[in-house]
């Protein structure tokens, strides 16, 4: 990690205004903002870890847990909600034995809920990695996951 961060730091000025772009690049590189990464950024930019975390949590784009190999996102937007998105999420939580926002201990799967993918016509929607699965039901969702195990 140290080297990857160092490479990112090289490209930036050591000042407050670099914060957001450093955060974005670190997330892009490492997939998330780990406590260790934030500590390093704090050291580089001379801003406290709490402050950086405060800024980062203000934006929805940042995540703070290591994503799984397969990122699963279940939509709970209005259309999906009406068509049973909730039940799909529950099924996934049961199947993977983790809560939304969590990751399996082997870092194979992580689970998140999101609000609308813009594919409402296909509701309810579940996205695995970059692949969008429409017209889900709990059973089919389970099968998709099992196929990845």
């Amino acid at each position: 990690m140290a080297q990857e961060l160092e490479a990112i730091f090289q490209k930036h000025k050591r000042e407050r205004s670099s914060l957001i772009s450093v955060l974005q690049e670190v997330q892009y590189k490492l997939g998330y903002l780990s406590p260790e990464a934030i500590a390093e950024i704090a050291r580089f930019l001379k801003i406290s870890e709490s402050e950086i975390y405060g800024v980062a949590t203000f934006y929805a784009q940042f995540r703070f847990t290591r994503p799984g190999e397969h990122e699963i996102k279940v939509c709970l937007g209005t259309a999906c909600h009406v068509r049973g998105g909730e039940r799909i999420l529950e099924e996934m939580e049961r199947e993977l034995d983790i809560q939304a926002g969590g990751v399996t201990p082997d870092y194979k799967f992580s689970l998140e809920k999101v609000a609308c993918f813009g594919s409402c016509a296909l509701a309810p929607v579940m996205v695995v990695g970059k692949e969008v699965h429409g017209r889900m039901d709990p059973n089919r969702a389970k099968k998709i996951i099992r196929a990845l195990r």
């Binding site: 406590p35 934030i38 001379k46 801003i47 406290s48 870890e49 709490s50 402050e51 950086i52 975390y53 405060g54 800024v55 949590t57 203000f58 703070f64």
Partner: protein, 916 residues
């Protein structure tokens, strides 16, 4: 000052230009409800509670952030405003437990009353630790909200109790941001931040880590600033309201923070730094805010102890005093020595040195100032004429450049450290940090000069050379106010940039840049501490600092000066009071016949004219039998002095040792008689802080058992020995005598101190005190430029002892830990030595963080756990001496500075390895 007039609620108000509407209202005692505003912080305008109506202005501007203007007409109470404020408050209270806030029978209710309003989470004010001190409640009552139409929904957040010192119950948080802002703007730690957003928004740390992991320095400023019960001290959390509050002065470092002690049932319930405190303005550090519970520690000495057959037995005062008197009368003259205390008051110290000189007939008086600022006293007396901080703490705000050299200010003098950091962060001043260790201040510095330990003379003289070579010196100042310039200039020959860079290990361009900033961005202030003085060339270091100031005219003006930061709460006072072997109170030399005649007349006795022994000389004299009896007050040389095993041997060799202290210290264990003393919280008196400010201590609690104030014990011994002039009824009478005999304290009296402290010199009762020394004229006449030569430290690393040990301090502990380790919160923050080792050295030695290691020098060997860190440079090791289990001063080198007799604490050669 320039004032302007405006009308508030029909009343004419005049206020300083630049003030906000809120300040104008407060000036006229008109209450405007506020929540997010705080006097020490920038206006924030977040809570919308302070809305007012202003003629010719649209809407309802917030009073806290709207500038007042000439002729403005403001209304603070109108039906619209009340409605507006009620709805803002109502919204706020949907997330804060409010049953009690809106209850009509709140005056009648008590904690265990059954209440139908009580919701399932029984968070009611009557069970809140902040009850009756809460600002939200004040605001709610003023606004008069009778009902909140929306239900209260608890966020059900866990209470953070994982940290020492204070708890955080964010269910009570109203997100006013005062904690976040005070931590960022004032303290500069930024340990707290707003995290998450929208309805999830909260105050917290990165990843919800404990505060101990988040850079918090436990200064408690956030707790003080919080208007609600969210942030609460652990101690006395449920103890309710105090019986009374006493204003006094902190007993730890020389900043001299004014503290308000909340007292209940003869105990210190909580400590509140006083916003009126001249040196601290509402701030404190972990030691002052959370470290005063040692006062109530069960190990306090409560009865005199007499050692019989090697064991201590409790005795009555009568027995103990008569034994002391009987034994001491055998040692009148130079076989006796008195060690006074930098933790005791001026009055205590005055009486002690008077006892030694008048009653015992010896000038053998010294105290631990020998081990901190003796080189300052010697060096600055020679160059400027007065060995004290030239300027005031508040003065720093006017500095354009601040050079911090050999002072880990945020650890040793935190409240001054916060101020320096704040100025650097706001870019009001350039901050130059010269320190081998990567101390906290480095993070906010303009330039970090990482000199090798012990090469300060080279660095400072190198800077002086650059200043002269580049024509940046203030030659008018040098011509008019200084002397010895030619000899000084001559000695600069040896300090060309290249040599200096090689000696110090600092890149030449950094030295030059530092010199230019210091000389051109004026006024420039120098702050220094033990990193300058604790060397065998400590006096040279001090004089090198004053050279720099003299050469650039940075003296006698606000925001400049040479400012030694003094360690103990009253080390300045102990020196002022003549707790030194060569001077009477007020630095009047014992060798000066006039001064001696004055004290002989004042005390009605004849006095010895030969200066006495210094501290380290006392131990030598004890070993060879010249010194036979010692009366030692409030010191712990067995841990604090260099080459500690030597000191212990010396003390054991005495025929009679009396120790007067609050705990049975490592030193007290060696005594024949131990006398129980009162703490700072149990006595009246005065301390003189590092900026020469004499401030009043007041009795806050009664002493446990039979402990007595130091001045009283010494007076009782003296009286029993038949001495005259010790029949003081109280410390005030002692101060009257001090003022009579000490010109610089001539105008100081208790009635005057009631309205804040006074900075000496204060020669007459109508003199306002002296915030800045040497204005227009130096105390010694002309400033003396000192020609210097670089002398390496006495003991340099070699094959056998390849590393340099430098001693350091931790923020949460003080000196030998006698008091701080008995403070619960502080002991939780850190309770063991961690020797700092550079990663490269660690790798070579096969050491990892947490490993048990030994550190050995030619004099001794100690063990500790290691902390591997870049903070310490390659080839060096840093340790504190706060922990008796790791008695670092067993290792240090007693090589003395020739002028001041300061031992070389900061540099000695050691070897390090894994402990087996």
């Amino acid at each position: 000052m320039d004032k302007m007039k405006l009308t508030i609620d029909g009343r004419e108000v005049s206020v300083r230009r630049g003030a906000k509407v809120l300040e104008a209202a407060q000036e006229a005692d008109i209450y405007i409800p506020t929540l997010c505003n705080h006097p020490e912080l920038e206006p924030y305008g977040g809570c919308r509670m302070c809305l007012v109506e202003i003629e010719k202005m649209r809407g309802f501007p917030p009073a806290c952030s709207t500038p007042a203007a000439e002729g403005m007409v403001v209304k603070t109470v109108t039906p619209e405003l009340t409605k507006l404020r009620q709805s803002v408050l109502e919204l706020l209270l949907t997330e804060h437990p409010h049953p009690c806030l809106t209850c009509h029978r709140k005056e009648l209710c008590g904690p265990f009353d059954v209440c139908l309003r009580s919701v399932s989470v029984t968070e009611r004010c009557v069970v809140c630790p902040k009850n009756k001190r809460c600002q939200l409640k004040d605001v709610a009552r003023y606004i008069g909200l009778d009902e909140v139409s929306l239900p209260y929904t608890s966020r059900g957040l866990p209470i953070h109790t994982e940290d020492p010192c204070y708890d955080r119950d964010y269910d009570l948080c109203i997100l006013c941001g005062r904690c976040v802002r005070v931590c960022d703007e004032v303290v500069g730690a930024s340990a707290l931040a707003f995290v998450h957003r929208g309805s999830q928004a909260l105050v917290g740390t990165a990843f919800g880590q404990p505060l101990t992991e988040s850079g918090c320095v436990f200064c408690g400023a956030c707790v003080e600033a919080c208007p609600t019960g969210t942030l609460m001290e652990k101690d006395g959390r449920w103890a309710g309201l105090p019986d009374r509050t006493i204003t006094t002065i902190c007993n730890y470092c020389g900043v001299g923070c004014q503290l308000r002690l909340a007292i209940k049932d003869n105990r210190i319930l909580r400590v509140h730094p006083d916003p009126q405190g001249p040196s601290n303005k509402g701030l404190a550090c972990s030691k002052g805010k959370f470290g005063l519970d040692f006062v109530h520690h069960p190990d306090r000495l409560t009865k005199p102890l007499i050692k019989r057959d090697g064991k201590f037995q409790e005795a009555t005062w009568e027995e103990a005093l008569s034994l002391v008197v009987q034994r001491l009368s055998q040692y009148e003259g130079d076989s006796f020595a008195m060690v006074t205390s930098a933790k005791a008051t001026n009055e205590d110290n005055y009486v002690m040195q008077k006892f030694a000189r008048e009653t015992m007939g010896t000038n053998n008086v010294d105290h631990c100032a020998r081990l901190c600022h003796a080189p300052t006293v010697a060096g600055l007396a020679q160059t400027l004429g007065s060995g004290a901080m030239t300027n005031s703490i508040a003065d720093l705000a006017q500095a354009k450049t601040i050079l911090v050299i050999g002072s880990n200010t945020t650890a040793t003098h935190p409240v001054i450290g916060f101020q320096v950091r704040r100025l650097a962060r706001k870019e009001q001043a350039n901050l130059l940090v010269a320190d081998p260790r990567e101390i906290d201040l480095v993070r906010d510095s303009t330039l970090w000069l990482r000199q090798r330990s012990g090469t300060d003379v080279a660095l400072l003289m190198g800077m002086a050379r650059v200043i002269l070579d580049e024509g940046l010196a203030d030659m008018d100042f040098v011509r008019e106010r200084c002397e010895n310039f030619e000899a000084f200039q001559e000695s600069l020959q040896a300090f060309d940039l290249e040599t200096v860079s090689q000696t110090t290990g600092i890149p030449a361009q950094d030295i030059a840049r530092a010199a230019r900033l210091y000389a051109t961005q004026k006024p420039s202030a120098i702050l220094y501490a033990m990193g300058i003085t604790q060397h065998s060339h400590g006096t040279d270091n001090v004089m090198a600092s004053s050279n720099l100031a003299l050469l650039t005219g940075n003296i006698g003006v606000p925001g400049a000066g040479v400012n030694p930061l003094r360690g103990h709460s009253n080390v300045q006072g102990a020196c002022d009071m003549g707790g030194l072997p060569n001077v009477y109170p007020g630095y009047q030399s014992v060798g000066n016949p006039e001064a001696r005649a004055k004290f002989e007349a004042g005390w009605g006795c004849s006095l010895p004219d030969k200066p006495g022994l210094t501290l380290m000389e006392m131990w030598d004299a004890a070993l060879d039998g010249r010194l036979k009896a010692v009366y030692l007050v409030g010191e712990n040389p067995v841990l604090s002095d260099a080459d500690a095993s030597h000191v212990e041997k010396a003390l054991k060799n005495l025929e009679f040792l009396v120790v007067q202290d609050i705990f049975l210290t490592e030193t007290a264990r060696l005594a024949d008689v131990v006398l129980p003393a009162a703490t700072f919280a149990e006595k009246d008196g005065t301390f003189t802080n590092t900026e020469r400010r004499v401030q009043r201590l007041r009795i806050a609690v009664l002493s446990p058992g039979e402990a007595r104030p130091d001045w009283l014990i010494t007076c009782q011994i003296a009286q029993r020995m038949g001495a005259m002039g010790f029949d003081f009824q109280n410390p005030e009478e002692i101060m009257e005598e001090i003022a009579r005999l000490t010109p610089s304290y001539g105008g100081i009296s208790y009635p005057r101190l009631e309205s804040g402290g006074l900075q000496w010199p204060c020669p007459t009762p109508d003199h306002p005190g002296t915030p800045i020394l040497h204005v227009g004229r130096f105390t010694r006449g002309k400033g003396w430029l000192a020609p210097l030569r670089y002398r390496p430290s006495e003991e340099l690393p070699d094959k056998e002892y390849p590393l340099v040990l430098t001693t350091a301090r931790l923020a949460h502990h003080f000196h030998t830990g006698t008091m701080t380790r008995k403070a619960k919160g502080l002991a939780q923050l850190r309770n063991e030595e961690l020797a700092e080792v550079n990663p490269q050295d660690a790798e070579r030695l096969g050491i990892q963080s947490g490993d048990a290691i030994y550190v050995a020098s030619r004099r001794g060997r100690v063990t500790a756990r290691a902390r591997v860190t870049e903070d310490i440079p390659f080839g060096e090791v840093a340790m504190s001496f706060h922990f008796a289990e790791t008695a670092t001063n067993m290792l240090t080198n007693p090589a003395l500075d020739p002028l001041s007799k300061m031992p070389e604490f900061k540099v000695c050669a050691v070897k390090v390895g894994k402990a087996t």
